[in-house]
């Protein structure tokens, strides 16, 4: 039981139920819809707007970091690593190049999610669950470009 919950990857149906239930618990517990990228906007505005420093989204973001740590710890713990799976194997294992690539990718995620008004959580899970037209368009485009860019990057052809 311990192994199934804390060590092995959860089966897709269990993970899906957990995230779906989390969305509902989050709404009931915080009176807000789940969304992560808006928290990044609050974090960026915080140095200039004192009001944003009290945003409920900031402790939520910190909590996600802690949650990853707890999961890793309960799974047996692992030493910090600079490896990123297939990216090392098929693109480059060079630290400086990886730092550059992942920073660039992060900029695209940050700018894109704000321009699209949501990310995988707000549009992908919550918005699609509400059958919002904007979210179904966003999620379709997320996946379409994700598929093309991953093929170009890891396969060398789309």
């Amino acid at each position: 039981m311990w192994t199934a919950v804390f060590v092995e990857r959860w089966p897709f149906w269990a993970g899906g139920i957990a995230i779906g239930v989390f969305v509902l618990a989050f709404l009931i517990g915080t009176r807000n819809l789940l969304g992560v990228s808006t928290g990044f906007a609050d974090a960026c505005a915080a140095p200039f707007e004192p009001k944003m420093r009290r945003s409920w989204r900031l402790p939520f973001l910190i909590g996600i970091i802690a949650g990853g740590f707890v999961a890793s710890l309960l799974a047996g713990g692992s030493a910090p690593t600079t490896r990123m799976g297939l990216f090392d194997a098929r693109v480059t294992g060079d630290f400086a190049l990886k730092a550059l690539a992942f920073t660039t990718g992060g900029v695209l995620l940050g700018f894109g999610s704000r321009l699209a008004n949501g990310c995988t959580s707000g549009h992908g899970i919550v918005g699609t669950a509400l059958f919002a037209k904007s979210s179904w368009i966003a999620m379709s485009v997320f996946f379409a470009t994700g598929i093309v860019v991953t093929h170009l990057l890891l396969r060398g052809s789309p």
């Binding site: 996600i64 740590f69 990123m84 695209l108 704000r114 008004n117 669950a129 509400l130 996946f143």
Partner: protein, 143 residues
């Protein structure tokens, strides 16, 4: 809502993202390479479960459910939706990470995620600075 409450929700969310394998670069890459649909399955089941719950809450008239229903709003159509989503998809593909999982990866000890998250903060700051101008330009084109 108290900071301690949202912190706790964050811990649970980060834990779940990690346990379902959403923080695994290869799981995202193989989904986009159409080789392994584990995470697509996770998302599909999550959407179905959330849709059932949110549907019940949204249709509530009166009582506790209706108090929750107030915040259940769809995101509006915006001029930057498609361009923003395309940029996001490209970033998702390069990093194998989205905003939530990038944070969880830092907690897991994936050092490269520090760069992803720094990039996300830079990109968000760029949006706060230039986003409205981009949106106005896109609005003119689409009209």
């Amino acid at each position: 809502v108290k900071p301690a409450t949202t912190l706790l929700f964050g811990v649970v969310f980060g834990f779940v993202l990690s346990r379902v394998g959403a923080t695994d670069y290869d799981a995202i890459a193989k989904m986009f390479l159409l080789e392994d649909f584990h995470l697509a399955g996770v998302m599909a089941v999550a959407v179905v479960v959330a849709a059932i719950g949110l549907g019940i809450i949204r249709r509530a008239r009166g009582g506790t459910l209706a108090r929750w229903a107030i915040v259940v709003q769809e995101k509006p159509m915006k001029p930057g939706l498609v361009l923003g989503a395309a940029l996001f998809g490209a970033g998702w593909a390069i990093t194998g990470t989205c905003p939530g999982t990038g944070l969880a990866q830092i907690g897991e000890g994936k050092v490269i995620a520090l760069f992803t998250v720094c990039g996300m903060l830079l990109g968000t700051a760029a949006y706060l600075r230039w986003g409205p101008r981009v949106e106005r330009a896109l609005g003119r084109i689409s009209r």
